[in-house]
């Protein structure tokens, strides 16, 4: 690179540039910690991290025994990987999200609808009929938070996941199977599954700048990007007028996306909001993530480990405070053959023989199926790994996990595909406002508690978000505060 000339032609690609920037943001741990403390009395950021898993859980091994707090309850076989975090979690039993099924008799509550409703509490089928567009749902709770809370981070939210490029749909539009976050009722926010892309996005946003030459170079790079985006927007605006009425909304969608990318480009020039980041190398695509060939050369375990680190990086660096994380697509029949079967009984599980098969096929093999439970158990392990990393970060008396609400759960119960008795776990205490180490058992159906009440309660009591309602209830019930989860 001809660095002598501040306007030398950029010979490295945009991505390579970001890669270089990654080195700059790495700081030693102590210094990072000091930086945080030096910020004084700034209010501690609260995070929200919904972690979705598909296909429900093997119900015979999911539910904890006992109820209440502390010693009154103990972890179930599938949840046993979370033992180190038991004091920091709450399991919810008998929470329902009936929204998505009950007014459609004779129809199996499908994976796509249940996944679509997981963070929206809206039946996507109904939304599509009402809105008369192909792609529809409700705005998801993570986005309601992102839109209602003051924006203090480079990204309002992030969406990540672990499926492969050859991922799963469920008969409906793939947005319902492949994303759980919806910016609006017609805008799915697809998750990013490529760790390198997540890394580049994060590092780009956090670039704190380097030498004067690099600054000038990056200024010119941004000027060129701005010029390209100006041309794109100018041309699309003109083109929009030549299209018929029916089609102009598609151009509106395009222009909106261009504007968002423009904002990101502009953000890249701003100094980092936080310097509390730990070093992380750019993920090695070949080793961690077999993009092209589905299972061929791909290792789900490596993928999860890398993605967990990226989620940690994003939260620790305060690149965003809201991350939705899909551990797999709805109705995934991904073959978890990197796992060895475990044999489950009510007291726990132990290694057994044979490879685990396709997730969805095993779901249909029953609520006591060992392969099904093994996948659930392994996914729980990944959540535990992430949460332990979050818990290791001290934010001045509380850990990052303490300052978060991690919601680990599925949109469907188990083998029966129903949307009641959802498997749901809360981790972290939302900055000390959530009561932990408890198993809350609400009354069974039909007196069970709606999932939308959980979100409503989190919004009002944890995040102080000003909303009056969230999602829908087919029972027609008003919101009820889920006070059981609160301190």
């Amino acid at each position: 690179m001809r660095l002598a000339n501040p306007f030398a032609k950029p010979e490295v690609s945009r991505r390579a540039f970001l890669r270089g920037a990654g080195v700059c943001l790495a700081l030693p741990w102590l210094e990072a910690f000091t930086g945080r403390t030096a910020r004084g009395q700034a209010s501690t950021p609260l995070r929200f991290v919904p972690i979705f898993f598909p296909n429900g859980a093997a119900a015979d091994f999911w539910g904890p025994s006992g109820e209440g707090r502390g010693d009154a309850w103990s972890l179930s076989p599938i949840l046993q990987p979370l033992a180190p975090l038991k004091p920091k979690m709450t399991v919810l039993t008998n929470v329902e999200n009936y929204t998505s099924m009950q007014d459609n008799p004779g129809v199996e509550p499908s994976h796509a609808r249940c996944a679509g409703a997981f963070l929206t509490c809206v039946d996507a089928d109904l939304a599509r009929q009402e809105l008369r567009v192909e792609v529809a749902n409700g705005t998801s709770f993570d986005q309601v938070l992102a839109q209602n809370l003051p924006r203090e981070t480079p990204f309002a939210s992030l969406q990540v996941g672990l499926s492969t490029i050859e991922s799963f749909c469920d008969g409906r539009h793939c947005s319902l199977s492949q994303s759980i976050s919806w910016k609006s009722p017609t805008e799915p926010l697809y998750k990013e599954v490529n760790p390198q892309t997540v890394f580049d996005t994060l590092v780009g946003s956090l670039n704190a700048g380097g030498s004067a030459e690099a600054d000038l170079e990056s200024q010119r790079r941004r000027a060129l990007e701005q010029s390209v985006l100006d041309a794109v927007a100018e041309s699309a605006t003109r083109t929009r007028l030549r299209l018929g009425f029916d089609d102009s909304h598609r151009l509106d969608q395009f222009l909106e996306s261009v504007r968002e990318v423009e904002t990101q480009v502009q953000n890249m020039g701003n100094p980092a909001r936080s310097s509390t980041c730990e070093p992380l190398a750019r993920p090695d695509l070949a080793a961690s993530y077999g993009l092209a060939n589905g299972q061929n050369g791909y290792h789900r375990g490596n993928h999860a480990a890398v993605m967990n680190k990226l989620v940690l990086l994003a939260l620790q660096c305060d690149a965003t405070r809201i991350i939705s994380y899909m551990l797999d697509d709805a109705r995934s029949d991904f073959v978890y053959d990197h796992l060895q079967n475990r044999r489950f009984d009510p007291s726990g599980s132990e290694p057994d023989n044979g490879q685990v098969g396709g997730y969805h096929g095993l779901q249909h093999a029953g609520d006591s199926n060992n392969g099904y439970a093994t996948i659930n158990w392994w996914l729980t392990q990944q959540v535990c790994d992430l949460c332990q990393m979050l818990d290791a970060i001290d934010e001045g008396g509380r850990s990052l996990l303490d300052n978060s609400v991690v919601l680990y759960g599925s949109g469907m119960h188990g083998t029966n595909h129903d949307a009641n008795e959802l498997p749901l776990v809360l981790l972290g205490s939302g900055g000390g406002r959530l009561r932990t180490d408890q198993h809350i058992k609400f009354p069974p159906t039909p007196n069970d508690r709606p999932l939308r009440d959980l979100y409503f309660t989190l919004a009002k009591e944890i995040y102080d978000a000003d909303i009056s309602s969230f999602g829908r209830s087919i029972k027609g019930a008003n919101h009820q505060l889920m006070s059981e989860i609160l301190v």
Partner: protein, 620 residues
């Protein structure tokens, strides 16, 4: 309307009076009709693509999204609802709503706004610029109706646009770092080039990039990009790199747009020939999955596509081009689920023989077989029944074919060795991709037959029905092979909830039981019990093995209709609606009148009214 006139795929009536609690009534009504109702075109107007794919599992479709476009009971109720999915407690409206067909799908003719599919994007940047990069291989997939090019399904979110924006820069960089590829942009000289030369270069490249001549406004927009880059001390060639990058980032490149009104130039003249350029793009993306070539652009510019003779001549020319292999690699590949085989998992515990060379051999045969029928002179009616397969050495061994001398790599046709293995459903590729990772699934195979070949997907299992575990007493459910699938399914059918559909599904799927989950011929299960591939449909039709299954489907006129419907969906970027029925009938009549090869169907569709006409704008 009369239920008996509807195809199976649309027997999706619901009991509106209350929740369904697992009574057999609803399902019996649904399932007993399907074999008998072959009287109408599949007019599935579902815009989302409720068609199941082969990506695993047994219940890919959902009744509530599959509707009959010509059913007045379903289409008349859509007007009076308010969009409130996220408003406060919108509970009250829920109960009264009935499914309706979104208005966007009711239109006729060609879809006017259609983003390039990932495949089309890769092919287009290759043909436009000569790059070998394939950035869209990492883009999000948005499949609907089983295809990756459905207009209504191809959206644009900020995440997606960021990927396009980044990829435009990468492609431009790749091209401009290659001396040969950037040559067209060096004709104006390196410094202080003639202004007219810059504009001319923008116009000539832009005509190919945007697939039509640029308006003077558009030339000026890209000239601004060029000038700005020069202001930032970039050379002329480097400035053109930014122009290319801008065009590749534009909506006019990323989408195929068809305008309601022609552009008006400052002179007052309208831009000539815009319809012709749009038709050229329709043809090239349908037949080639890429941008028009020089001959097609010339034809558009000189008005050759406006009459049937000129149009037909170009269709014929294009089908003879190697680029027509896109009809195999894209259309047939997706329709018949072959892309799923590329990532299909087989458990090595169950099939230690499975390896990548075997997968490659299966894919190789599929490509040969499909090319033979899609682009060759073979009659389409023989697609399912031909005594013809293509094997290399590995596949010959896999098929236990003794009378063929195949070498390691090349595929040789063979016939007559194993009479039970005929037609497409006899290929290991199909038999594998329609199985689970550890065993065959007669249900999955039957569902595939109904869905892909007859356009009549079965409904999913009813709500609140616990599906019996076919693998239940296998040791610890370790995904071991089931010893005898047939016996397990018989137990399954003893439940009337299941029997109503499985009495149809099981005979279809069990007819293929002589082929294991990686397509090997077998006569007994692993436990030594003999395979019985016979069965009887509820109407008494006996089915014994693959030949009977093939003959049963071959006699069903839904097979040819379904073939035409699938091609229509792929070509138009939307599913056929009731309004398309007459045109589709014409296409089929023209197809069957003479030389009923698949090519002939393609030719008929390419000159059909829906394909060549413009979609009418709504009066809203």
């Amino acid at each position: 309307m009369n239920d008996n006139a509807r195809p199976f795929g649309c027997q999706r009536q619901r009991n509106a009076s209350g929740p369904y609690h697992g009574s057999t009534l609803g399902l019996l009504t649904v399932c007993t009709l399907f074999a008998a109702c072959s009287g109408s075109v599949s007019r599935d107007a579902d815009p989302i693509g409720s068609r199941g794919t082969l990506d695993g599992g047994v219940e890919a479709t959902d009744p509530s999204t599959t509707r009959n476009a010509d059913d007045p009971a379903q289409s008349g109720s859509e007007a009076n609802t308010t969009p409130t999915p996220n408003g406060s407690n919108g509970d009250a409206t829920s109960a009264e709503l009935t499914p309706s067909t979104p208005s966007t799908d009711a239109a006729q003719g060609f879809v006017r706004v259609r983003r390039l599919s990932n495949r089309e994007y890769n092919n287009t940047v290759r043909d436009l610029l000569g790059t070998t990069l394939t950035p869209a291989s990492n883009f999000l997939k948005e499949t609907a109706h089983g295809f990756d090019n459905i207009a209504g399904s191809l959206g644009m979110t900020a995440t997606q646009y960021a990927a396009y924006f980044g990829s435009a820069a990468d492609v431009a960089k790749d091209v401009f770092s290659n001396e040969k590829l950037r040559a067209p942009f060096e004709t104006c000289g390196a410094r202080n080039p003639d202004s007219a030369c810059v504009d001319a270069t923008i116009q000539s490249f832009g005509t190919r990039a945007l697939r039509r001549p640029l308006t003077s406004d558009e030339v000026r927009t890209y000239r601004d990009v060029y000038d700005r880059a020069v202001d930032l001390e970039l050379s002329s060639v480097e400035a053109f790199e930014q122009v290319v990058r801008a065009m590749l980032s534009s909506v006019e490149f990323l989408y195929r747009l068809e305008f309601a009104q022609p552009a008006t130039e400052p002179t007052g003249n309208t831009q000539p020939g815009s319809n012709e350029y749009e038709l050229a793009s329709r043809l090239s993306y349908f037949l080639w999955s890429t941008m028009p070539d020089a001959a097609l652009f010339d034809a558009a510019a000189s008005g050759q596509l406006s009459d049937l003779t000129g149009l037909s001549a170009h269709v014929e020319r294009m089908l003879a081009s190697p680029k027509a292999s896109a009809l195999v690699d894209s259309f047939a590949w997706q329709w018949l689920g072959m892309q799923t085989l590329e990532s299909h998992a087989v458990l090595s515990d169950s099939f230690p023989e499975w390896d990548e060379p075997l997968r490659a051999a299966m894919l190789g045969e599929a490509r040969e077989y499909l090319t033979h029928f899609v682009l060759g002179d073979a009659a389409w009616k023989d697609f399912l029944s031909a005594d013809l397969h293509f094997v290399n050495a590995r596949l010959a061994a896999h098929y236990a074919a003794s009378n063929v001398s195949a070498d390691n790599m090349a595929f040789a046709p063979y016939a007559g060795d194993t009479p039970s293995r005929i037609g497409f459903m006899g290929t290991a590729a199909f038999l594998t991709v329609s199985s689970f990772a550890h065993r065959t699934s007669p249900t999955l195979r039957a569902k595939w037959v109904l869905d892909a070949l007859l356009c009549a997907p079965p409904p999913p299992p009813p709500a609140q029905l616990t599906i019996p575990d076919l693998d239940a007493d296998e040791a610890a459910n370790q995904a071991a092979s089931i010893d005898n699938v047939r016996e397990r399914l018989a137990l399954h059918r003893s439940d009337p909830n299941c029997a109503s559909c499985h009495q149809y599904l099981d005979p279809l799927g069990l007819a293929l039981e002589n082929f294991d989950a990686i397509g090997r011929y077998r006569q007994e299960y692993d436990d030594g019990t003999p395979i019985d591939a016979t069965g009887e449909l509820p109407d008494g039709t006996p089915l014994a093995g693959l030949p009977d299954l093939v003959s049963f489907i071959g006699k069903d006129d839904r097979f040819l209709r379904c073939t035409a419907d699938k091609l229509f969906t792929y070509a138009m970027g939307r599913a056929p609606t009731a309004q398309d029925a007459p045109a589709l009938a014409d296409v089929r009549a023209g197809w069957q009148a003479e030389a009923p090869t698949f090519r002939r169907l393609v030719e008929q569709l390419a000159v059909s009214v829906p394909f060549t006409q413009r979609q009418e704008a709504s009066q809203e």
